[in-house]
Symmetry: C2
Subunit: 114 residues, 2 copies
DNA sequence: TCGAAGTTTCCATAAATGTAGAATTATGGA
DNA sequence: TCCATAATTCTACATTTATGGAAACTTCGA
């Protein structure tokens, strides 16, 4: 992954409300959440949230689609996975000290559903 | 990990020169690098770099120690590992879509030295 | 005790970011 | 066609962040 993209994604996550929004999107799964519902859930004015969502989408961490009058946002798992791989490989050079705790997390059952 | 700490670490990495500095520190390994050498390597004025290093240390991504007249900086692997675990577990809920590519990375030989 | 090397702190300035009111656009129902 | 709903874009303002010159601090060798 190019550094510029990694920086964009890191910046997108490095902000209180955007990180919370992203987590909610992950929880919501593939169906996603309408912008309005999201705004109510995180208690942020619709236009402010809209600006945050633009940043997440632009960073490749979320997607949007229209459904009637609503616009539905969902987490971009591929984008997030690629960021984690970048941090692990390019940034940390697969150092055992960093891999260790992560290997434990990645091999947990929740991470490998049947 | 607390959200606040995660945000601090993400912010610390979400900046061009700091990300580069962190990568160099990872490359340098446990011995680390003197602030001055680092400044020359990344071509940044000493005082500017110093401010960046404060941010990395404060975020728990780097450590410093004095050696004679020099101050040696090194990457904090534990801090970085914890951030990755946070992103994987708390943030992404160990979703298989995100774990997948990461599992591949984590099981590579370079990540599990003899 | 002095001076040089290495680094940080102080400070001011420029640039980027976050926020939300008001206006605008798109959609669907009456 | 008209209205209400859902969301975005425009705009301005306040806050935060990045940057580097100058001064100060610490360490070591002469």
């Amino acid at each position: 992954m190019e550094i510029e993209i990694a920086l964009k994604r890191l910046s997108a996550l490095a902000q209180q409300s955007r990180l919370e929004v992203f987590r909610r999107l992950v929880q919501a799964g593939a169906e996603g959440l309408a912008a309005g519902d999201l705004a109510r859930a995180v208690d942020i004015p619709a236009n402010t949230l809209s600006a945050q969502l633009v940043i997440l989408v632009n960073a490749g961490l979320a997607r949007s689609r229209r459904e009637g009058r609503s616009i539905i946002y969902s987490a971009d798992y591929d984008g997030m996975g690629a960021l984690l791989v970048f941090l692990m490989e390019d940034c940390c050079q697969n150092r055992a000290e960093v891999c260790g705790p992560l290997a434990a997390a990645v091999t947990r059952p929740s991470c490998n559903p049947v």
